[in-house]
């Protein structure tokens, strides 16, 4: 608390965008937004020319995404390759500067911070990477990798306690604390991912952004890592943003799910709302592609096969981004960009944020999701009856 003398002008500096550390110390009640993302945009300029660079366009990787991450929850983000999930994570981590829009952590704008203020935010938001084979420095021992956060933020653990702190972290993630002198290549993929998680936990962050943390792992190891993440969430009161393209895993771990397509959030809601009452055609198509572990069910169900490819994010379609592949598309879809809101004609669980002019539940996505979740046919019947009424 070296700032205590300057406490009086603290309010002024806050206004100038330099948050006091004390601002981050306050507790956010469970269920309240801890991270607020509003109209976040990230364009990567396309340039031509070597010496005199001329911008000829932009890849619209993330284009106006808004959502809240609530304290203690897991928000799953799904979408196919190239839809901007990882760019979103990088912008939230302040690894890329957003083109426009705001990211607020506990009410403080963090997307344009630098220097000491940024370092303070980094303590509270950490990341687990996709590929455990490239996310650990091959020339550092495990002790050095997990101990590095303490070297960068010496205030977290005093020098003498660091070795102990590293061993405790290894223990927490289920690795032998005596392995601190080993190198990453001496571990299996699952163990490496645990090391990556331990590094993310070292600073005792409140938010962990998991960028496809299990997609590089075997299915059996995926289950372990997911269970570990869930266990740690309870233990350390973490909020997760969980990016993945595996819908089953996202359903397993998430409280709420957001679906992204071509840089836009197309639908967001609780996991039951998304998986059982999806209203956006893209979500329905995604869900219909989830493999069903039951051969009899597999034959009976209908798959929505989308035609064409994802359009280039450098030149996205006008209006609704999904209209080029949507079976519901009409002229209105090309003219107006659908807002991510609750449509007034939807009721019950279907009434959640969806960016479609013609948002409606569809039988197919629903039934596939139900089978996948192992719920009985009775509930499906009752769902049908409700609809008929």
């Amino acid at each position: 608390m070296t700032h205590s003398g300057a406490g009086a002008d603290g309010a002024d500096t806050n206004g100038a965008g330099v948050p006091e550390e004390a601002a981050f110390a306050q507790e956010v009640p469970r269920g309240e937004p801890i991270l607020e993302v509003r109209q976040l945009v990230k364009y990567f300029p396309l340039t031509r020319g070597i010496l005199f660079k001329k911008q000829v366009g932009a890849v619209k990787a993330v284009d106006g995404v808004s959502f809240d991450l609530r304290q203690g929850e897991t928000l799953g983000i799904v979408g196919e390759s190239g839809c901007g999930k990882s760019t979103l994570a990088k912008v939230l981590m302040n690894l890329e500067a957003p083109t426009s829009g705001s990211v607020k952590y506990k009410g403080e704008e963090i997307s344009r911070l630098s220097g000491a203020a940024l370092k303070a935010v980094r303590r509270n938001i950490q990341m687990v990477f996709q590929d455990p084979y490239t996310s650990l420095n091959p020339r550092m021992t495990v002790g050095d990798i997990i101990g590095e956060p303490f070297e960068i933020h010496p205030e977290v653990a005093p020098k003498g306690d660091r070795r102990k702190a590293v061993q405790d972290l290894l223990d927490v993630v289920g690795l032998n604390p005596e392995y601190i002198n080993r190198y990453p290549h001496q571990f299996s993929g699952g163990q490496r991912q645990r090391i990556g998680i331990a590094r993310g936990l070292a600073l005792k962050p409140e938010i962990i952004i998991c960028d496809e943390p299990v997609s590089a792992l075997d299915v059996s190891v995926q289950a372990q890592v997911i269970n570990l993440l869930e266990q740690l969430q309870g233990e350390f009161d973490l909020s997760y943003m969980f990016i993945a393209h595996d819908l089953s895993i996202v359903r397993h771990i998430s409280d709420r799910v957001g679906v992204m397509y071509l840089g836009k959030m197309v639908e967001i809601g609780s996991d039951a709302e998304i998986y059982e009452h999806a209203t956006h055609p893209y979500t329905q198509a995604l869900l219909s592609a989830v493999p069903v572990p039951d051969p009899t069910g597999r034959e009976g169900r209908e798959r929505i096969v989308l035609s064409g490819d994802v359009p280039s994010p450098a030149n996205p379609p006008s209006g609704c981004r999904f209209r080029t592949r949507c079976w519901k598309a009409q002229e209105k879809c090309a003219r107006e960009t659908p807002a991510l809101t609750v449509r007034e004609w939807l009721e019950g669980a279907a009434a959640h944020d969806s960016a479609c002019h013609f948002a409606a539940e569809r039988e197919i996505g629903q039934s596939a999701a139900e089978r996948e979740s192992g719920q009985g046919a009775t509930e499906r019947e009752s769902g049908k009856q409700e609809k008929q009424q």
Binding site: L51, L95, S135, L136, N137, P138, N176, E178, R199
Partner: protein, 342 residues
């Protein structure tokens, strides 16, 4: 089962794993699904594999860093020991040549020109009737100084310039790369003829400086490329996400991972630079005769190789052994810095 217990006793975590596995019985909890059960059952074998062998006794000691590990590894590497001893021997010879040869390399007797081995003169005589053995011993100083200093200088300048260019990119990269291109474009012999002939002093350091100026772009290109490759790795992003500053990123993460190709190129360049000094001396712009160097001897002996091969073989052999020793050393160091090869 007794085996299992023994294992658990040796390993505290094995028990931690089994505790976690306590599952509610199906009777107590009817709703729990098969998928989770399967996943849970898979944890057990992997848990046991987590600890395939108890860590060796030496792994329980203090935490170590990459460089400490590399040094521990090098001390046991016969290639490092041999090349290290050779280099120490060559350096001692360069510093105190009098310890190895009692004859004066500049005391020549034309009547003995090109004569073979005789008592007290194991390598015979050269064109001027000087003792080849003494000249080989005394020549180590100039050749090793030029080779080592020019390599160290070029490697340092090249690594720093190329590394910074690769790390920061943008206009700084453009400027450094274009400057490197300009130096690349100068033919080394033509440059040497022009540059060294206008410099009045013929000191050894002028030759070293000239080689550094023309040699750094090669290493700069290698290090720039290497740094750019490493910079894109996830572990660099991870360190950045932790709040690491540029200097930490460069020193802790990028440099150790980018240094291997630089070491290889630099050790090979060392031999080239000694040979370059010889070429420049041969053209009359490098070191000048009262200075004794392998390069001067090799170039003067090359004309009469058929009449008196010993004049060429001994200084050339000394040059080859020196270059080989440094290449072996570079190889050993590079391998020691790669934990995967241990």
């Amino acid at each position: 089962m007794p085996d299992q217990e023994k294992y658990n006793a040796a390993d505290p975590l094995a028990e931690a794993g089994t505790e976690e596995l306590e599952m509610p019985s199906a009777v107590e909890n009817r709703t729990f699904d098969l998928g989770t059960m399967e996943a849970q059952s898979l944890i057990k074998p992997e848990r046991l594999q987590d600890h395939p062998e108890a860590p060796a006794a030496d792994e329980r000691v203090e935490a170590r860093s990459l460089w400490q590990d590399a040094w521990r590894d090098l001390r046991r590497n016969p290639i490092f020991i041999i090349s290290g001893l050779l280099i120490v021997f060559l350096i001692v010879m360069a510093v105190w040549p009098g310890l190895f040869a009692s004859t004066d390399p500049l005391k020549c007797d034309l009547s003995k020109s090109q004569q073979g081995v005789s008592s007290g003169h194991p390598f015979g005589y050269d064109n001027q009737g000087c003792d080849v053995y003494a000249r080989t011993v005394y020549g180590a100083r100039a050749s090793i100084t030029v080779g080592v200093c020019a390599t160290a200088g070029a490697a340092l300048v090249g690594t720093v310039m190329g590394g910074l260019a690769g790390f920061f990119g943008g206009w700084f990269d453009s400027v450094v790369s274009r400057i490197a291109d300009i130096f690349f474009g100068i033919p080394i012999l033509l440059g040497g003829l022009v540059f060294l002939s206008v410099v009045p002093s013929q000191s050894i350091w002028i030759v070293v400086a000239f080689i550094v100026v023309l040699g750094w772009p090669q290493i700069a290109r290698i290090s720039r490329g290497s740094v750019i490759t490493v910079k894109q790795q996830d572990y660099v992003t991870a360190a950045e996400a932790l709040g690491a500053g540029s200097s930490r990123l460069m020193v802790r993460h990028i440099l150790p991972n980018a240094v291997a190709p630089i070491i290889v190129v630099a050790t090979i360049a060392l031999g080239t630079y000694i040979a370059l000094e010889a070429t420049l001396s041969f053209l009359g712009v490098g070191l000048k005769p009262p200075t004794v160097s392998w390069g001067i001897d090799i170039s003067s002996a090359s004309d009469s190789f058929r009449n008196a091969p010993h004049m060429l073989l001994y200084p050339a052999g000394a040059l080859s052994i020196t270059v080989l020793a440094f290449i072996m050393l570079g190889d050993a160091v590079r391998d020691a810095l790669d934990p995967k090869l241990r």
